[in-house]
Symmetry: C2
Amino acid sequence: MAELAGTSPETDEGFMREALAQARLAFDAGEVPVGAVIVRDGQIVSRGRNRRETGKNALYHAELEAIDAACKTLGGWRLPGCTLYVTLEPCPMCAGAVINSRVERVVYGATDFRFGSVKSVQQIFSLPYNHQPAVTDGVLAEECTALLREFFRRLRLKRGAQ
Amino acid sequence: MAELAGTSPETDEGFMREALAQARLAFDAGEVPVGAVIVRDGQIVSRGRNRRETGKNALYHAELEAIDAACKTLGGWRLPGCTLYVTLEPCPMCAGAVINSRVERVVYGATDFRFGSVKSVQQIFSLPYNHQPAVTDGVLAEECTALLREFFRRLRLKRGAQ
């Protein structure tokens, strides 16, 4: 596949750091730390973070928040030329939203062996839907994974202390 | 599998008619006619319909609208004991939202050979995610399919006249 405009390891790491900043906000709110940003033409058009517990809503994943906000910012349901950066491998709902919104490229950090639907539980973007985004995985994977591990370590300590 | 509480062909058809009423509202708004309701203990707790074009948002599918409203009505991200009735086989995003919200049972009408992710493009509820809802398909399938066909027939006529 030809290299997509604006992609480079440095650029990808820079935007993943923005997604990590969103994940840290989730962490501070007591949420599983997952963050996302959507980028077009080198500019961030939207941000999202996991808010499932505080928002009491199964749909409040980082990617859905970012896609929702990008549709509102860009004024349409299609997001051509957009790249989604997310700290964790997307679940089937969020991967499906990528297909539905025609996000051009997905860049993620940590692997999710339980719910990840890009490479782990299934390879959803290889199925014959009408849109197959490009994928880059493992960007800042250690930092993304370390933040998740720290969250769950603290959660276990907290639960153990109760 | 033991029969789930409150399920019967008559009950399923009754609630699918409520989903069809939502689909007709979508039809009248110029949207691909898909409608949904979520039911718990024999009561409708939420409704949704496709609003992707008028709402200019890739997430505005009938099922996501109904799941979003049900989380708000019931006050949490888990929807145990809930059945989703939807006129069309769910896409991967909406099927993923069913998994994430722990909807107990999915009842759908028409088959979607292009995007349907319960039986058509893939069988997502058979994969090793942490939740596998029960599924009943083909309820009022002819009516659900006829409404979709009529929508696309009119769309072709309209486009042909332009």
